[in-house]
Amino acid sequence: MNAERNQRLFSSNFIREALVASVIKLHPGKMARNPVMFSVEIGTGIMVVVTVASLITADQSLGAPGYNGWITGLLMLTLLFSNFAEALAEARGKAQAAALRKTRTDTLARRIEKTGRHTMVSASELDRGDLFLVEEGELIPADGEIVEGLASIDESAITGESAPVIREADSDRNSVIGGTRLLSDRILVKVTSQPGESFLDKMIALVEGADRKKTPNELALTILLAGFTIVFLLVAVALQPFAAFSGATLPVASLIALFVCLIPTTIGGLLSAIGIAGMDRALGANIIAKSGKAVETAGDVDVLLLDKTGTITIGNRKATRFYPSAGKDLSEFSRLAAISSLADHTPEGKSILELARQNGASGEDPDWPDPEFVPFSAETRMSGVNLPDGTRIRKGAWDAIGDWCRRDSLKAENPELETWVRDIAAKGGTPLALAVDNRPVGVIQLEDIIKPGIRERFDRFRKMGLKTVMVTGDNPLTAAFIAAEAGVDDFIAEARPEDKLGYIKKEQQAGKLVAMMGDGTNDAPALAQADIGIAMNSGTQAAKEAANMVDLDNDPTKLLEVVEIGKQLLITRGNITTFSIANDVAKYFAIVPALFTISVPGLKALDIMHLGSPESAILSAVIFNALIIPLLIPLALSGVKYRPVGASVLLTRNLLVYGLGGIAVPFAGIKLIDLVVKQFI
């Protein structure tokens, strides 16, 4: 899906759109956001005046009109290339966002009025707080929370995942997205966002540039580049009196050419494209970031809080064995296990029922009609049933059951249970205790399967300096076993929401940046506290509000991708900056000798590239300077490949490639261009 989407990105549509936009973007008001390119624009403006003046007056000191014209044209081209890069990145982002948004623009909504009747309105007229009804087969008109009902929904338009998902009122999965299709049942939904203010709308605004704020690092880099621009402005301006002292005359065109070549136009021209491309990549990974800063911060994360289930282990734990306590036989235990899990729709509950059925218990027990179900709660950490005869059956973690039963009698009466619990846990399984009327009757063994390849992935993160923390409701023994198997650095066992929050706060106090993913309402405080909080799209509105990113795929491993996208963003900027500045060495050696060889013939020795003539040397440098921008657009948009190695190795490698490369490439490039250009002079 993503590959297919990316493939379309360099299509001719985008290029046409970007070409038009790159001319519109020449507006000085827009250019002023970028000091480097703005100064190129001013230089171009001066050159237009100089070219016209050199045409109509015979003033030799202004330089030859043809030469002036060429320089003016090349500078204009430099500007257009830079604008084109930005426009192309924007076009890509817009297309990705539009694909996500397309479906909902024309949808009709069945809005419930205060009178209780419903009227048909356009989706765009829905306000926050409005209620609407969706029937089977219809498109959901807007983002919202299910107030009433349970339904299966096809979210493939947004996530690309074809399997339908279940959404239900009053659960942690009560949220629906505009543009998705209801496959069954009917639901009453409350609108959660103003029109034009949904996450997707925010993201589109971020890519489109209108709302784009510079991220902190982008701001600092812009300052650095502006500083370089001033230094080289000074170099160029001071050169005129220097030359006057030496009796040389310098045409304005050559000075402006020197200035434009020395200032970091390569990174200046690509800077905003890189930023937008980072957002594009996030969007391409089906992540909606609420700000560019969030994507950038993701690259700085030190600690990842990962839910065990779905991230580290495949799907869910399965019940694999029953351990009835002395005095209970397997079939009786299976009966109890089955009835306790009848209404338990968690995957674990279903697997218990499955195992019980294999042992001959159906769960539909004629002796115990109409059981009252007790749902799982985070506080008791148990679920179960209350039977009409007053019998209470509970299942849950060993210590939760221990709290429920009388602890002192527990050990004395059931020494074997304690052993089983420990054995199961030591093997990485999860023991689930079953108790009837405050008396334990046996243990259910649940087992986890660790995802293949996850260990290697964590090794990579360790090399990047990231600490991975597994969050699980398991007891510490089980957690330790799985943690060791999967190769995470730390774990939070028997985790309650406040434990997560506490862990995040502790790490932050030590100066670490923490990222986590969550879906439930009770995750909201931790999501808000974390530096990067990613909410699952299926999660509650509260979780989504608290997070700074939303993952449309509900994929817990997405956290890892987000970190890489953030790092890639910074690395791309850093490396192109280095490349751009390193280019100056060659440009100096091309232009400075060319400026003075006539008045100071000895300086010909500095022309180590042996360029054709002073004019062709300067033109070649300017052409190189312009061409390098479009040549680097693919790199800027797709990002420098991130390798998960330590910072020192990465620095050495990138210095070699972009630093040394940045010195060497323009020497070769300018020489090659000169070989062509000198044919025409």
């Binding site: 902190p216 690092n217 600092a220 880099l221 300052i223 650095l224 500083g227 230094v231 000074l234 170099v235 301006v237 001071a238 050169l239 005129q240 009196p241 220097f242 030359a243 006057a244 002292f245 030496s246 020197l258 950038e296 690259g299 700085d300 030190d302 090399k463 990047m464 300096g465 990231l466 030590a510 100066g511 670490k512 953030g566 790092k567 890639q568 910074l570 690395i571 850093g574 900056t577 280095t578 390193a582 100056d584 060495v585 100096y588 400075v592 000798p593 003075f596 100071v600 000895g602 300086l603 500095l606 330590g646 910072a647 020192s648 990465l650 620095l651 990138n654 210095l655 972009y658 630093g659």
Partner: protein, 566 residues
């Protein structure tokens, strides 16, 4: 091996051997650890603080440090102005030298307060001994100012989050009493035994071999010269500075004086390693500085030892190398070595005439001042280097995909802005000043004919050198320049003041702001700043920011001269 080169290697080795323990000692002083001089100086320190009513235990934030620095400097500046303009009637004037005019006194005071020591007078005739002593006092004050503020930055670089960065006055007094005074005293004793005058009596009269009577200026020169070298001051007791045999009698004293140029700037780098407990970081900094220094000094010695091709063409053998403007008792290698020493640090004392050196040596001397942080002036050399580290950290941090951090503190827009302004300042003043001078001269060569004895490339080089020297607070000159005119006095005066205080204020602000930020412990993803790779990056930043900006100017000066000569 050639004994001249051996002498140079010996001088560098001596510096290194002495700087390592001295760095440790300075680190102890900054850390308030016990040293063997405490017994002598603790009571003295206490007396100073009691008399001045300053509480040396009161911790200051970075702004308070800067206020303390500027007020101390301003206070002594006024006193210096008073003494210089009233020397004629003040005591200690056996030769009856006149008072300075207000403008010359102003220029001289600015020059000494800024650790520049550009001298538009000759000590023998322009100063009384009271004047010499007040300038000698300045040589202590400006050196101690730089070292004390450097200690503040070291303090700010420590782990943890704090606004409190020690007490400026305390660092200042400890620097004077425990570092500068003892070493200067040793140097003075050596000089006295080698014949440098140390007296408050007036001129001596001798009869030369030709039978002519000659007046020989004397004075407290032996006390003056060591601090001149040690504090990277460079202002000579006599007009000709250390070329004068009274100030630098023989090869032995030349070794001593050369060693004194480098010893504190290098020791401070090691002191950083001791204070922060980061020896590797200190080694990285030392490595980059040394690599840069070698790039400048090796070719300089080579060109000076190989003579001047114009003289070779005249058929004159130059076995001793290019000896124009050099002292026979030092030779070409030791003179070239001193020239690069004195320009890499902001010292500015000379033992040969830089104006007469071969073109590339002149260029390397200028590069030393343009970069001004290959060891650099006492305290301020490291402070300049700190700015380059911040810039390198920023670029390097991005290159490894993390918001840049230096020693656990995030480097953000504000710090980058200040670092960039400071990095800009030096090219602005040098290129701007030279451009102004060139513009004036090119517009009306007759009116400004007095400025230059050598028009052409070398004349341009003289302009460039003068502004380099003022902006880098160096104080040496291409002495062919007629610089005692209103234009040069005013222009260089302003440049000296800006070039001194802004590059102190900026980095102290950066360090202070970083110190108050949250401390982030290192991880494998953090850019390590104590590696050779990072050193390469810093070197590249220096080469591109500090050196390349001057490439066109150097092309029209020394490079053009070189290519037309060779």
């Amino acid at each position: 091996m050639n004994t001249e080169i051996l002498g140079v290697i010996l001088m560098y080795a001596a510096v290194l051997v002495l700087a390592i323990p001295l760095g440790r000692y300075i680190g102890k002083i900054f850390n308030y650890e016990n040293t063997w001089l405490d017994k002598t100086f603790n009571p003295l320190d206490k007396l100073f603080f009691k008399l001045s009513g300053i509480d040396p235990a009161k911790e200051m934030n970075w702004k308070q440090h800067l206020v303390a620095l500027l007020t101390t400097n301003a206070f002594w500046f006024v006193i210096s102005l008073f003494v210089l303009t009233n020397m004629s009637w003040l005591p200690l004037n056996p030769d009856g030298n006149p008072s300075m005019s207000w403008d010359l006194a102003f220029n001289t005071s600015v020059s000494f307060v800024s650790n520049t020591n550009l001298q538009h007078y000759s000590g023998e005739t322009g100063l009384s001994y009271a004047g010499q002593l007040i300038l000698m006092l300045w040589q202590f004050i400006s050196a101690a100012t730089g070292i004390a503020i450097c200690a503040v930055i070291f303090n700010a670089m420590k782990a943890g989050t704090t606004e409190k960065l020690g007490n400026f006055y305390s660092y200042f007094v400890r620097t004077c009493t425990r570092i500068l005074l003892p070493i200067a005293f040793i140097g003075a004793v050596v000089l006295v035994f080698n014949g440098t005058p140390m007296t408050f009596e007036g001129k001596d009269t001798i009869t030369t071999l030709e039978g002519v009577e000659q007046n020989i200026s004397r004075g407290p020169a032996a006390a003056f010269v060591p601090i001149k070298q040690l504090g990277t001051n460079g202002g000579g007791f006599y007009g000709p500075n250390s070329t004068n045999p009274m100030e630098n009698p023989n090869y032995l004293t030349n070794i001593l004086e050369t060693v004194f140029i480098f010893i504190i700037p290098i020791a401070l780098v090691f002191a950083l390693g001791y204070v922060l407990k980061r020896r590797k970081l200190a080694l990285m900094i030392y490595g980059v500085m040394t690599a840069g220094f070698l790039c400048l000094v090796v070719p300089s010695i080579y060109y000076e030892m190989n003579g001047n091709p114009a003289i070779t063409e005249m058929g004159i053998a130059q076995d001793m190398g290019s000896m124009e403007g050099k002292e026979v008792r030092f030779g070409s290698a030791a003179s070239a070595y001193w020239a690069i020493n004195t320009t890499c640090t902001s010292n500015g004392s000379v033992n040969a005439m830089h104006d007469s050196m071969t073109p590339l040596t002149g260029m390397f001397a200028m590069l030393g001042m343009m970069i001004n942080s290959f060891y650099g002036g006492v305290g301020v050399g490291f402070i300049n280097f700190y700015v380059f580290i911040i810039l390198a950290v920023f670029i390097g941090g991005l290159m490894v995909g993390r918001t840049p951090e230096f020693l656990g503190k995030k480097v953000e827009a504000k710090e980058v802005k200040i670092a960039m302004i400071i990095a800009l300042l030096h090219p602005l003043m040098i290129l701007g000043g030279t451009a102004l001078a060139s513009f004036l001269y090119a517009g009306n060569p007759e009116a400004y004919a007095g400025w230059l004895n050598n028009p052409g490339y070398h004349g341009f080089g003289e302009f460039l050198y003068e502004f380099c020297s003022a902006s880098a607070n160096n104080g040496s000159g291409f002495e062919g320049l007629g610089d005692n005119t209103p234009f040069w006095n005013v222009a260089t005066g302003l440049v000296m003041l800006l070039g001194r205080y802004l590059p102190i204020i900026g980095p102290v602000a950066i360090a202070g702001m970083l110190a108050s930020k949250k401390y982030i412990p290192e991880s494998a993803g953090t850019l390590k700043t104590d590696t050779s790779t990072f050193g390469v990056l810093v070197f590249a930043v220096i080469a591109i920011v500090a050196a390349l900006a001057f490439f066109p100017a150097l092309t029209l000066g020394p490079l053009a001269e070189y290519f037309s000569l060779y």
